[in-house]
């Protein structure tokens, strides 16, 4: 360092001499600015390498892309270790490369040799994002906007994204951080059709959660896209979102793990759809089969069997499915003599409410349905389903695949629905 300082004094002396004939005041100011910059760079370097257990980086490749959390330890030897577990680094891994603080019209943090966990976001050949030549187009050089003992505010040099860097707790295991991230991520699994954002009692629907970019249908014009990042505690929108006069950005996972509550405003929360909403939404891609062993439907099912038996048929499948414009109860039967199967459909309108779900029978229009509805047991079955039910998930609130439906007017009438492809 001694040689450096010598050179520096020599240089700044030279600058002084050269510029003394121009404007002395300005060159004096420039010199002290340069000194300040050098001090800031040295200080940032010291702060970053002082955290033995590293830092959390909330990284956004571009302003339109979702965020990714990275754990980074800056060794004073010049090596940065970066841990990641995400869509582009699917297995938990720690990769290494060099880091440096440089002067690029201000203090800039750079990762200047290849470090897989970070540079995968910048690699034009990564195969992600916009494909060969572009990739995810992220930064690996960051302008330091603000620095403290506990937190840095960074800006991506090319893309201008806002990136937070904050001290990771001393005692916490790196691996367990990603386990916590996973818990929050459960709310964004691909089986969940949408989430609700409730602010001051009014609700908007959030779709696309599994891609970590929410789509919000607003009353006016186009849907709004909100990229967000999943952390160990909850989520943070890339930019604040304002609805119903309230601005929200950061949400914390509830204790039961089923909802997210806004940090800024306790009356804002993100919740799972109700089981009845889940049922209706998933009908578009999946079928819900009536469990014929349900005790609350035993008598009726028995007489359906008897009716089919009388015409040498057995029941193969009894399920609700989506027919694009309506919901159908589909009844598939098989001939005991020939093995040939046939199907009949009975239409219902379904309407999820706050307390449950209303089914209203709308008749049948195919020949299969026309034959079946004349058999014994069928009119009882169709009538039993023409009612209002209380609906509950049996196995999981995050991904319900078994639901119980209980007639609100007659609790002895109930049955189980099981999801199938």
């Amino acid at each position: 360092m001694k040689k450096n300082r010598y050179l520096y004094v020599l240089l700044s002396g030279l600058i002084l001499i050269l510029s003394s004939c121009v404007r002395t005041e300005e060159s004096l100011f420039e010199e002290s600015a340069a000194l300040r910059l050098n001090r800031a760079i040295a200080n940032d370097r010291k702060l970053l390498s002082s955290a033995d257990n590293g830092w959390v980086m909330e990284y956004f490749p571009t302003n339109g892309s979702p965020g990714f959390v990275l754990l980074i330890r800056f060794d004073s030897s010049g090596i940065a270790s970066i841990a990641a577990k995400n869509e582009v680094t699917p297995m938990y891994d720690i990769s290494t490369g060099t880091w440096n603080m440089i002067d690029d019209s201000g203090p800039v943090l750079t990762f200047d040799t290849y470090n897989a966990a970070l540079h995968v976001f910048s690699d034009p050949n990564s195969g992600y994002g916009q494909g060969l030549g572009i990739g995810l187009a992220g930064d690996y050089e960051f302008i330091i906007m603000n620095a403290s003992e506990t937190e840095f505010t960074l800006k991506g040099k090319k893309r201008g994204t806002n990136i937070r860097l904050y001290r990771f707790p001393e005692k916490k295991e790196w691996r367990s951080y990603f386990a916590d991230v996973n818990k929050v991520n459960a709310l964004f699994n691909v089986n969940i059709p949408y989430l609700h954002l409730t602010v001051n009692g009014s609700r908007v629907m959030l779709t696309g959660g599994h891609s970590h970019i929410f789509n919000i249908e607003t009353a006016s014009d186009y849907p709004v896209e909100i990229p967000f990042i999943v952390t160990d505690e909850g989520i943070r929108f890339a930019q604040p979102f304002e609805t119903n006069g309230v601005s929200v950005q950061k949400f914390r996972l509830s204790d039961d793990g089923n909802s997210l509550w806004a940090d800024e405003n306790a009356i804002a929360k993100i919740e799972l759809p109700l089981p009845q909403e889940f049922f209706v939404a998933t009908l578009q891609t999946k079928k819900w089969a009536i469990d014929t062993t349900s005790a609350g439907l035993r008598g009726i099912i028995d007489s359906v069997y008897a009716g089919l038996n009388a015409v040498n048929r057995t029941l193969v499948q009894l399920d609700f499915r989506d027919l694009s414009d309506s919901v159908a109860l589909a009844v598939q039967v098989k001939s005991t003599a020939t093995g040939v199967t046939a199907i009949g459909r009975f239409y219902y309108s379904v309407k999820p409410t706050e307390d449950g779900i209303e089914f209203a029978y709308k008749g049948t229009s195919d020949t299969g349905g026309d034959v079946l509805r004349r058999l014994s047991g069928f009119s009882e079955l169709l009538q039993a389903l023409d009612a209002t039910f209380k609906i509950d998930s049996v196995n999981s609130t995050l991904n319900p695949s078994v639901l119980t439906l209980e007639n609100t007017a007659d609790t002895s009438l109930w049955f189980v629905l099981k999801q199938r492809l």
Binding site: M1, K2, K3, N4, L7, Y8, L11, D75, S76, S77, G78, I79, G97, T98, N100, I102, D104, T110, F111, D112, T113, Y114, H119, S122, D123, P124, N125, G131, L132, G133, I134, G135, A137, Y140, E141, K157, K158
Partner: protein
């Protein structure tokens, strides 16, 4: 002390079969473009080894993990050639329009050893130790990825700026076992750019431009096949873009391509050219005779102007290509030895 102003240099290559097969996996055809020299028109290159252009070279920190490698670079590049071997990427020193990534550290080590072995030491052996000290580049900058131009379906693999800085792209694809790719991506580029530096200091004979006069085409060269180019007396399609590219392509290909390649190229040159559509394109030139005459002229010019023996250089490079493994082992050993200074 003389000073020269170096003009814009450009080197482009059409896709090779190997690269084509690599690119085909992405079902896209990428033309490879080696381009060069940006702002060089206003850069003055002081032709003196003693003038350092690195005024604030930071002192090496023995506590750093990188110390052994940095020390090795100091001993093998900075001290002998006043050359800054930049393996740590700074985007202010590269083109902001591209999406790029830094080179992997392990690849940078390999590249540094290989550039020394295959390039610097080859010229040292043949032209003496002062030759590159005086005329060689002052900065080598390594980039991990290629610089893609998705809109044009092209990519830049190497640039040279003002004869001072050579940038080598795609270093994360470095594979010392694949000589052809080593040459195509890195070493032929270096010979190409260096030949430009030499002919800008001492012009090549005007007569060189007469052999294939009337067949240079700066905007159509990439449409020409190897066969068409050869039958017109060019070492490569890019050589047919303009005379000075022709001149350096003859030299660079002569140095790095083996006799199998050259036998094939000269056979191609002796026959009529076949274009992309498989049609025979007739021309009145004897390609083989022209290429041989061009090589002769390059050989003579290098000898008379630079006291550089082209055939010795070629033999030396060929020999060195067979010693890559031992050069790497030796290089790593030397780098490792600097760890002792850290204790």
């Amino acid at each position: 002390m003389t000073s020269v102003i170096l003009e814009t240099l450009k080197k482009e290559y059409k896709l090779t079969n190997y690269e084509y097969s690599l690119m085909r996996k992405n079902s896209k055809i990428w033309l490879l473009i080696w381009t060069a020299a940006l702002f060089s028109a206003c850069v003055r290159f002081e032709d003196s080894f003693t003038d350092s252009i690195f005024v604030d070279e930071p002192e090496l920190d023995p506590a750093s993990e990188l110390y052994p490698f940095d020390r090795w670079l100091e001993e093998n590049y900075l001290k002998p050639y006043n050359l800054d071997f930049r393996y740590r990427m700074q985007d202010k020193g590269s083109d902001m329009d591209y999406n790029l990534v830094p080179a992997k550290l392990e690849n940078s080590l390999e590249m540094a050893i290989l550039v020394k072995h295959l390039w610097f030491e080859a010229y040292n052996d043949v032209a003496g130790p002062d030759f590159l000290k005086q005329h060689g580049p002052r900065i080598i900058h390594l980039i991990g990825s290629a610089a893609y131009k998705p809109a044009l379906q092209t990519m830049v693999l190497g640039t040279a700026e003002a004869g001072i800085k050579i940038t080598l792209y795609n270093c994360n694809e470095l594979n010392p076992k694949n000589i052809d790719l080593l040459n195509e991506y890195y070493f032929e580029t270096m010979h190409h750019e260096f030949a430009h530096i030499l002919h800008q200091k001492k012009t090549y004979p005007k007569e060189f431009e007469t052999f294939s006069a009337g067949y240079y085409d700066p905007s159509y060269w990439q449409e020409r096949t190897d066969s068409e180019a050869a039958s017109l007396g060019f070492a490569s399609p890019y050589g047919s873009s303009q005379p000075r590219e022709d001149f350096v392509e003859i030299i660079a290909n002569y140095i790095v391509k083996d006799s199998v390649w050259w036998t094939d190229r000269l056979r191609m040159a002796s026959q009529s050219g076949v274009n992309r559509d498989g049609q025979v394109v007739d021309d009145p030139l004897d390609g083989q005779e022209i290429i041989e005459a061009k090589i002769d002229m390059c050989r003579k010019w290098l000898k008379e102007s630079w006291d550089l023996d082209l055939d010795s250089l070629r033999r030396n490079v060929t020999k060195r290509q067979l010693q890559i493994d031992s050069a790497l082992i030796e290089g790593y050993k030397k780098i490792d030895e600097y760890k002792n200074e850290q204790l």
